[in-house]
């Protein structure tokens, strides 16, 4: 029998959820506010959404963010798959411990430090900052998350499956393509969505590594908020929250499905 939820526990639970989600709820709510003043409720309206789509700067930044997220997530998955495969399959190669530590380190490294380090590197190398420097920065972190997700799948993968494929006439490359990859596909997709979301959300790394013409959405929002909060920001934030929530849900469903098998 399931233990029942006592009134006290329920209160704590609700307080916890309120702490987490009331601010976000208010933000979403005020995006439908017809008043120009962000703190005063003036009735329901979708005018800020309409105005938002007339705000070219915001739209360009959104597009930039999506492009960066797409490219960096693809790069993360590619590199993450390679790193995870090396960790899971190549046995105890020399430097494996160091390699795994190096792969996981950016996960716990403060973003400010990663961002600053990348900035110094780009400046030292004389690389002009812009779209690709942000992509590189996001891939650095995204790759590590991708490695963790894909490694988890590969670690529980029965090597006998690949051997069986080879035994039945598949070359190692064919065995990987016909057996390993399809079985790991859900984990790879989940890793992609995770990296995509991280890139879309990121503010710190982008501020260090972006240049003129590659302003991402979070950066645009931040700079506009400093000039005064426009309800348009609420609207774009609401859209972003929805997008991220959907991607995370999809990632969760995919990993759940792959774990079941």
């Amino acid at each position: 029998m399931k233990p029942g939820l006592s009134a006290g526990m329920l209160a704590v639970l609700l307080a916890g959820f309120a702490f987490l989600y009331v601010p976000i709820g208010l933000l979403v709510l005020y995006s439908f506010n017809s008043s120009r003043l962000v703190t005063v409720w003036g009735g329901f309206s979708t005018r800020w959404y309409v105005e938002l789509f007339g705000n070219e700067q915001l739209l360009i930044s959104t597009l930039t963010s999506l492009e960066i997220a797409l490219v960096s997530a693809s790069l993360s998955v590619l590199l993450g798959t390679c790193a995870a495969y090396s960790l899971a399959r190549t046995g105890a190669f020399a430097g494996r411990t160091v390699f795994s530590a190096l792969v996981y380190a950016p996960l716990v490294m403060p973003e400010v430090i990663t961002g600053l380090a990348l900035l110094l590197l780009f400046v030292a190398l004389g690389i002009e900052r812009g779209f690709w420097t942000v992509v590189l920065a996001h891939s650095t972190v995204g790759m590590c998350f991708a490695t963790v997700v894909i490694y988890a799948r590969l670690a529980e993968f029965d090597v006998a499956l690949e051997e069986a494929a080879m035994d039945l006439g598949a070359t190692p490359a064919e065995a990987f393509r016909l057996v390993t990859l399809p079985i790991c596909a859900p984990a790879i997709a989940a890793a992609f969505l995770l990296a995509f979301t991280l890139s879309l959300d990121d503010f710190v790394l982008a501020s260090f590594t972006s240049g003129p013409g590659s302003t991402t959405l979070p950066m645009r929002i931040y700079s506009q908020v400093r000039l005064g909060v426009s309800p348009q920001i609420n609207a774009i934030s609401t859209l972003m929250i929805s997008a991220v929530a959907m991607l995370l849900l999809a990632a969760h469903l995919l990993t759940g499905r792959s774990a079941q098998k």
């Binding site: 051997e163 069986a164 080879m166 006439g169 016909l178 079985i183 098998k261």
Partner: protein, 358 residues
């Protein structure tokens, strides 16, 4: 006599300091059902993986149908394997699992469909083609694995503990099915197992392995009745051991069993002399309430008995402290008279013994 299908000549494989396979020389006839039997860690799995091509020997040669397999990768060997975990591809239907090897051979779609249907019929899984492996029972998975490995018509099928994951009832049934399939297709089977019942029940010849080497090779009966070493005698079946001395008197060989009784040894018995072990299977022991007049006889008390349906096992504690095991078929109702606490005479006759080096 046909040329051997598989020839292993001085094959060795080391892992660090461990000699997993130690200069094994072995030949398999075409169409033979062969078993590698041994405890875990004896090298039987390594030997099988060497034949499949997943490992490379450090020394020696492996010939398959006369062809040297040196440098030939597993995907180019006419050998298929049935994995212990079955290793069915979870993202493919039963049909696509069975078709995998055929598609790799470049067979046409129509031929693949025909062969898959044929294999499904062979393993009695008609109508299961569209299912996923996760929707099958253990026994059904085992049969899909068999069908998948047999579909490309390999010259040699390797079976890695094929019955280990099945329950007892299913095991015997599957055992007979495997033998039937092997006879019908005429493909050489090499079974790898630690289970003596599996090896004895199915294989025409058994190679008993120990520490990377082949201890004894022969049919089940030869290894059971005529073990050459203590290891072979103890690994297969149960055995009672008596200390003794093998001597030669006037050209005839005798064994003097500890306690002074002298028994004549058969001509073909292992030609060891000096300090020996005299081995007697439990079902060959003579047991009676009175002096039976066996060649060697000891007095003791029945301390335990186990009635197992087809046979009964008694443990007899001799007066000098040794513990013996005696078994009898329950078909002979006369054996029902022996019970716990009885004082009995147990012994054996000269033709029942096997003399082993100590």
């Amino acid at each position: 006599m046909p040329a051997p299908l598989v020839q292993l000549a001085g094959v060795s494989k080391h892992y660090g300091d461990v000699r997993a396979v130690d200069s094994v020389t072995l030949e398999l006839e075409p169409g033979e059902f062969f078993a590698l039997l041994g405890p875990s860690g004896c090298g039987k799995t390594s030997l099988m993986r060497l034949v499949a091509g997943f490992e490379t020997p450090d020394a020696g040669r492996i010939l398959l149908d006369g062809q040297d397999m040196q440098g030939v990768p597993p995907y180019r060997r006419p050998v298929n394997m049935m994995f212990q975990s079955y290793a069915l591809f979870p993202h493919m239907s039963v049909e696509r699992n069975i078709a995998f090897g055929l598609a790799q051979q470049g067979m046409s779609k129509g031929d693949i469909a025909t062969r898959v249907a044929e294999m499904l019929r062979l393993v009695k899984l008609e109508g299961y083609g569209a299912r996923r492996p996760e929707q099958l029972s253990g026994g059904q998975k085992q049969r899909v694995a068999l069908a998948r490995a047999l579909a490309p018509r390999p010259k040699l099928l390797l079976l890695d503990e094929p019955l280990a994951a099945l329950d007892r009832k299913l095991r015997e049934e599957t055992q007979f099915e495997l033998m039937q399939v092997q006879r019908d297709l005429g493909i050489t089977f090499m079974l790898v197992t630690h289970d003596q019942d599996e090896a004895m029940g199915m294989a025409q010849r058994i190679a008993l392995m120990r520490a990377g080497q082949i201890e004894q090779i022969g049919d089940a009966r030869a290894i059971y009745e005529r073990p050459r070493t203590l290891f072979a005698a103890e690994f297969i079946g149960e055995i009672n051991l008596f200390e003794g001395e093998a001597v030669q008197i006037d050209g005839a060989r005798f064994a003097i069993v500890q306690g002074g009784r002298r028994i004549a040894l058969a001509e073909d018995d292992s030609p060891v002399t000096g300090s020996v072990l005299i081995a007697v299977r439990p079902e060959r022991m003579v047991m009676s309430h009175l002096h039976a007049g066996s060649a060697a006889e000891f007095e003791g008390t029945i301390t335990e008995m186990a009635w197992l349906g087809d046979l009964t096992i008694w443990r007899v504690r001799l007066d000098d402290g040794r513990l013996l095991r005696v078994s009898r078929s329950n078909a002979d109702v006369a054996n029902a008279v022996f019970t716990r606490g009885d004082r009995v005479f147990v012994g054996f006759d000269a033709h029942s013994v096997r003399v082993l080096p100590k």
